[in-house]
């Protein structure tokens, strides 16, 4: 027990199998969490690092905010730069970038399920469960057969970046006006082969069935049938575990979701109270009340935001600011994307029990199936004889908003340029939304809310249920504060 722990209070950290560093402070009572505070303990100051540089330098700096969402960061930056310049890249470049963004998301979902999330069910505490021997063989951390297979499949999938982006992470091929590498017919068939091989791996290992069968799942009865007598695969294994442990009763937050829209043409939107709605970017603001940042007197729209750390601030308990939409916390991620896109099965799950450990993971796995098919068709749409880049000049003054969807949800960059230099750069990452601290109204962030009521057994130092809830969000802590 660390010196910071006391009866009725538990501090969990370092919290691993998340990207980056995370600490969770729990107040306990009557065998459950009564209140939670989420602390992002690392501040690097990327928004300040960007100030004063040439705007194009953002494409070198921002991917390095995060080694797991690197391409998503590049995509948000290039969108902001193109908004600034009023530039429109040729169709090939739009498709090529979208393939890279979507492939990175696939790799992240794969890593989350196999390397980060499932190994918790292979812990000794679950040794008595009927599914345990299988889970232990497949998902023991850093050793299970499915963990190893996923790492290998991901490395093969990321050959997409060897062809299109030079390397992953931290490619510079994404540039205002297009992409820096034109693809030829040979590249195109090679990309197709990589995606097809990955699809076959998913069908064999994760789903045990053709993707068409997964994509046909559209209601709760069909999902129950898949759990009861569906094909052998790790998707079904998860459904069985979730049912046995009641994971759908765990980790519910506010049931308010937002997405900036996955892919070109998919609109930004919200989903709350069982229905979709519009998203007004003008109503996004960040609250610094508990963020160890100056500027606590008011909420800041990101075009008017600031990042001045205040190490002496004792009220603050995280370096993470608290983003709010219309004054309220929102959850983002694969489940939000599926809801905003109108996915009937995810909608049925959310209408029944909201966002929870089970529905977040199911949404991610369904997205894996859907996206791998969509990427295959994007590759076929590439016109190798067409243009890949148009010359683009950036103005010396102006501002631009760039938004995209990283694996973990809505990512936005708000850029202001003065005298040909970056005057201000504000970033709100997905886990900034999900793991935000309390705001000036005392309203907790989504994870803080989701942890309330989570059961904690006597003597549990690192409560299993708390780990499931935290990891169900697939947090990326290095993006959170940046």
């Amino acid at each position: 027990m660390s010196e910071t722990e006391s009866p009725g209070r538990l501090i969990v950290g370092p919290f691993n199998r998340v990207e980056g560093d995370l600490e969770v402070q729990l107040e306990l009572g009557a065998g459950q969490v009564t209140s939670a505070r989420v602390n992002s303990p690392l501040f690097r100051g990327f928004e300040r690092i960007l100030e004063g540089r040439s705007p194009l330098d953002a494409l070198v700096i921002v991917p390095r905010i995060c080694g797991i969402c690197s391409v998503s960061q590049s995509m948000a930056a290039v969108s902001a730069l193109e908004a600034l310049a009023g530039a429109a890249p040729p169709p090939n470049a739009v498709i090529a970038r979208e393939i890279m963004r979507a492939v990175e998301n696939l790799g992240d979902h794969l890593t989350h399920f196999h390397v980060f999330f499932m190994p918790d069910f292979a812990r000794a505490a679950y040794a008595g469960r009927p599914w345990f021997p299988l889970v232990e063989e497949r998902f023991k951390a850093a050793a299970g057969s499915a963990v190893r297979e996923a790492v290998t499949a991901r490395a093969g999938l990321f050959h997409v970046f060897g062809i299109m982006g030079g390397k992953w992470p931290h490619t510079l091929t994404i540039q205002p006006g297009g992409v820096a590498r034109a693809l030829d017919a040979r590249d195109k068939v090679r990309l197709g082969a990589i995606i097809t091989a990955f699809r076959h791996y998913l069908e064999r290992s994760l789903f045990g069935a053709p993707l068409e069968a997964v994509l046909a799942l559209s209601d709760l009865d069909a999902l129950d049938a898949w759990r009861a007598q569906g094909p052998e695969g790790n998707f079904r294994l998860f459904l069985e575990i979730a049912h046995d442990l009641g994971l759908r009763g765990l980790g519910r937050a506010f049931d308010r979701f937002l997405s900036y829209g996955a892919g070109p043409g998919a609109g930004a939107g919200t989903w709350r109270d069982g229905a979709g709605g519009d998203l007004d970017f003008g109503r996004i603001a960040e609250d610094h009340s508990f963020a160890r940042m100056t500027g606590r007197d008011r909420r800041h729209h990101p075009f008017d935001g600031s990042t001045e750390p205040d190490g002496a601030d004792e009220a603050g308990y995280s370096w993470c600011k608290a983003p709010r939409l219309g004054g309220l916390p929102f959850e983002t991620g694969a489940i939000a994307r599926r809801l905003v896109a109108g996915d009937p099965l995810v909608e049925a799950l959310a209408l029944r029990d909201g966002g929870n450990v089970e529905s977040r993971v199911i949404a991610r796995l369904l997205e894996l199936a859907r996206e791998v098919e969509r990427i295959g068709s994007l590759v076929r749409q590439l016109e190798v004889k067409g243009d890949w880049h148009v010359e683009t000049r950036l103005p010396d003054e102006g501002r631009g908003l760039g938004v995209t969807e990283a694996a973990r949800g809505a990512l936005g960059h708000w850029l202001r340029v003065e005298g040909g230099r970056i005057a201000a750069y504000q970033i709100i990452a997905p886990t900034t939304w999900n793991f935000s601290p309390r705001d000036s109204d005392g309203v907790p962030g989504p994870l803080e809310k989701a942890l309330e009521g989570t059961p904690v057994a006597d003597g549990e130092r690192v409560p299993a249920a708390v780990q499931h809830v935290v990891r169900s969000f697939d947090p990326c802590m290095v993006c959170t504060v940046h």
């Binding site: 910071t4 969990v12 950290g13 919290f15 691993n16 199998r17 990207e19 980056g20 560093d21 600490e23 303990p41 690392l42 501040f43 690097r44 300040r48 690092i49 960007l50 004063g52 540089r53 040439s54 330098d57 070198v60 700096i61 390095r64 995060c66 080694g67 797991i68 690197s70 890593t111 390397v115 980060f116 850093a142 050793a143 190893r148 790492v151 290998t152 490395a155 050959h159 970046f161 060897g162 299109m164 030079g166 390397k167 992953w168 931290h170 490619t171 510079l172 091929t173 006006g177 297009g178 992409v179 820096a180 590498r181 034109a182 030829d184 750390p309 880049h389 130092r461 690192v462 290095v478």
Partner: protein, 331 residues
């Protein structure tokens, strides 16, 4: 050989890159070399107090530590307190944990340019006061000081790169496990020579354009990127174009400049990354070991001798003029 991996003020990209190791994959490579992960933040089961127990056991001498890998720069701020990065769950700055653990480790490996020299986290105003384990930029020192030697007798091994190639890391670790890495195998910045004694220029597919100074002017042009696009491949120490990334990639193959990410202070080139600074029309940064007069003389000669094919292709995004196919010589 056991290994403890800590992530400090970085992006985690070196771990993410390392997971792309292939033939054999990462876990098989480590198994095969007899490398046991005591703990890794991405891969290991243990979390929270279980990890703190392990760290304490190392500091108390109840557990020996063979290799300490640190990914990410060390954050000294604000005002030298290290509070910009407290290790979660411990109420203690990461810089203190790293300093104490380094004293117990047989070898200390800085994974990535952040951990080696400070890297991108130290860019611009360096708001978090970031530095490397044994360097602060080009200057020796950093967290552990210029004279630090690990128990095994080596200084910090700087596997620099942003990110690191998966096999720069795995091969350095395998060499350590095999007692195959000595002080003589490290270059002046303490980078393993097996990859740092090469230049990114070696094996670059744009070499013919370089030879004739047939240059690219905008992204997607096929020409050499040294003259206008900021490419530092002729100066950058790494084997990217002979080893290749994610199957068949490299920065220059991906269509963009090498920004010399294995070097200290690459994050502050003194100009926009993708522009070449020039004096009187001549790039300021010359190819490594090349005298300026010869560079100028050869460049003007080469430009005059540029074949039409090379000149036209350099300014296109695909091959417009293929190399001539010569008819078989008559016997």
């Amino acid at each position: 050989m056991n290994l403890l991996w800590l992530q400090s003020g970085g992006c985690g990209g070196c771990t993410m890159s390392m997971l792309c190791a292939e033939a054999p994959d990462l876990l098989a490579t480590l198994d095969g070399a007899g490398i046991e992960l005591l703990w890794h933040p991405t891969l290991s089961e243990e979390t929270g107090g279980e990890v703190v127990d392990l760290l304490r056991a190392i500091l108390d001498g109840r557990r020996t530590l063979d290799v300490l890998c640190v990914e990410g720069s060390i954050l000294l701020g604000p005002n030298g307190t290290g509070r910009f990065h407290m290790m979660a769950g411990t109420g203690r700055p990461m810089m203190d944990w790293v300093r104490d653990l380094a004293a117990h480790a047989r070898h200390v490996v800085a994974v990535g340019t952040c951990a080696a020299f400070g890297g991108v986290t130290a860019a611009g105003a360096n708001p978090a006061d970031a530095c490397g384990l044994q360097y602060d930029g080009r200057e020796k020192g950093g967290l552990l000081g210029p004279d630090f030697l690990a128990r095994g007798g080596l200084p910090v091994i700087n596997v620099a790169g942003c990110p690191t190639h998966p096999n720069w890391v795995t091969e350095a670790l395998m060499l350590l496990a095999d007692e195959g890495l000595t002080g003589a195998d490290l270059d002046p910045y303490q980078r393993p020579r097996f990859y740092a004694d090469h230049l990114v220029h070696h094996g670059c597919p744009r070499n013919e354009y370089y030879e004739y100074k047939a240059s690219a002017h905008q992204p997607s042009d096929l020409g050499c990127m040294m003259e206008h696009m900021g490419c530092l491949g002729t100066q950058a120490h790494a084997d990217c174009n002979t080893r290749l990334w994610n199957g068949e990639g490299s920065c220059t193959r991906g269509g963009y400049a090498c920004i010399n990410c294995t070097a200290p202070e690459f994050e502050e080139p003194g100009h926009a990354y993708l522009e070449t600074p020039k004096f009187a029309g001549i790039p300021i940064g010359l190819p490594t070991d090349m005298p300026k007069a010869w560079f100028v003389a050869l460049s003007s000669l080469a430009k005059a001798a540029t074949p039409d094919r090379v000149r036209r292709n350099a300014a296109a995004d695909r091959i417009l003029v293929p190399p001539t196919v010569h008819e078989k010589r008559k016997r």
